[in-house]
């Protein structure tokens, strides 16, 4: 009886220690990002839906949430500057009460074709470890935007037109000068 009592007590202490250490490693913030379900092509303006939830028992203040975009093109993986892709790169959440959920739409203008990944990062000023969502991969299909027929017309037509105009002007000028000379003679 005494033996089993000691065993139960030891088990309980171990469970308390394990539980505490688990709580230390588990963030109080849950962050997720969802890509639009439709197929994406260049020029589209999809909105990625971001959710930040406070799982802890205390309010969180001054959370900074920002979007990161990476190119996943095989062999050319690199971070992408969001300057031309998205007008909103980061938001600040003043306060997030326990259990509260903050939803935010992240509009993005797709300006390049290829395979990309996007993730949402939440920085709590009181924590030294930011919380990052799962990477959401998505494909952007190419869409030629330049109308080649119109460009060819201008690119070839305008220099030709200008050359003909200059030539014509020079010819008229020379001809009128000769005529004047002939009249004088």
């Amino acid at each position: 009886m005494k033996r089993s009592y000691v065993l139960y007590l030891t088990l309980l202490i171990l469970l308390i220690i394990a539980g505490n250490s688990y709580a230390d490693g588990t963030p109080f913030i849950q962050v997720s990002l969802q890509a639009p379900k439709s197929a994406l092509k260049m020029g589209d303006r999809p909105v990625f839906k971001g959710v930040v939830k406070n799982l802890g028992r205390h309010s969180l203040k001054g959370l900074v949430v920002y979007l990161s975009l990476v190119s996943l093109k095989p062999g050319h993986e690199h971070p992408v500057d969001l300057e031309d892709w998205s007008a909103q790169k980061a938001v600040r959440i003043d306060q997030l009460a326990p259990g509260e959920t903050h939803r935010q739409g992240w509009p993005m203008r797709l300006i390049q074709a290829g395979r990309f990944g996007v993730a949402l990062t939440v920085v709590d000023p009181l924590e030294n470890r930011p919380v990052v969502s799962d990477l959401v991969p998505f494909d952007i299909h190419p869409k030629p935007t330049i109308a080649s027929s119109r460009i060819l017309l201008v690119a070839v037509g305008e220099p030709l037109l200008l050359l003909i105009s200059f030539g014509l002007f020079h010819w008229i000028r020379t001809r009128s000068a000769r005529l004047r000379e002939a009249v004088q003679i």
Binding site: P142, T145, I146, I151, V154, A155, E158, P159
Partner: protein
């Protein structure tokens, strides 16, 4: 005052009807044609969004126009001096300040021609996209400010320099320096030093303004600061020119 208007007319028409002027305009549209053909033939460039293509085209138009302005501005007084026509010009009833105004008007007329020549290219590249009209308006406004700034400083320089070559070499160096932050790329320009350099550089300010209007679709409210910088430099250029023109040496 009667001679003042014919002088402006002469400065403007000389550029259209002279072989040198025609050659410069042919070079301009040649470069624009090559870039347009690159947009069509290059896979990466053909996928560019229209607004991005319009911005790139606008930047090229502005650069080409400023290059012509630097050349023509440097020729303004130093060229007249070299051709020994400055003395004839100075003994006319037109004051040196009026001559400078006429030459500046000639430079503005050059910009107008370059702008008109570039319009079909901008239309071809961006008529199916957004912000084409804004791009044209802001390109014209920013270009006009830059032409007065660079033209004013170049004319002032050509008053002081004895030769066209001297004025041109200093002008081209200044032009390259003002264009150097653009060559650095956006990442380097994002730093504090890069931003300051961009802010004090009228060329970079104008390009950033075009970028924010055409690519980022930002309104007039966001352009107040860049416009104020351009206006400041324009006033400074006119002031420098008016101070320099008071004493013209043969």
């Amino acid at each position: 005052m009667r001679l003042y208007k014919p002088l402006i007319k002469k400065e403007c028409l000389e550029e259209i009807f002279s072989a040198r002027g025609a050659a410069l305009y042919l070079v301009v549209i040649g470069v624009l044609s090559v870039f347009s053909l690159l947009l069509v033939s290059n896979t990466e460039l053909s996928l560019l969004e229209n607004a991005q293509a319009v911005y790139m085209m606008s930047a090229i138009v502005m650069t080409l126009a400023l290059l012509i302005i630097v050349i023509r501005g440097g020729d303004g007084f130093a060229g007249e001096r070299e051709r020994e026509t400055l003395e004839t010009l100075l003994i006319t009833p037109v004051s040196p300040a009026e001559i400078a105004v006429a030459k500046l008007m000639g430079l503005l007329f050059t910009w107008l021609i370059v702008f008109v020549l570039s319009m079909p290219y901008l239309w071809a590249v961006g008529s199916t996209g957004q912000n084409l009209l804004s791009a044209l308006v802001y390109l014209f406004a920013a270009g006009t400010f830059l032409v007065i700034i660079f033209g004013g400083f170049m004319l002032a320089l050509s008053v002081r320099m004895k030769t066209f070559k001297g004025a041109l070499s200093i002008g081209l160096t200044a032009f390259l320096l003002s264009g150097s932050p653009i060559l650095l790329g956006s990442s380097l320009r994002q730093s504090a030093v890069g931003r300051v350099v961009d802010l004090i550089n009228p060329f970079a300010t104008a390009l950033n303004m075009l970028d924010s209007v055409v690519v980022d679709s930002l309104g007039l409210l966001f352009q107040i600061m860049p416009l104020a910088i351009l206006v400041f430099y324009t006033i400074a250029a006119i002031w420098v020119l008016s101070m320099t023109i008071r004493r013209v040496e043969l």
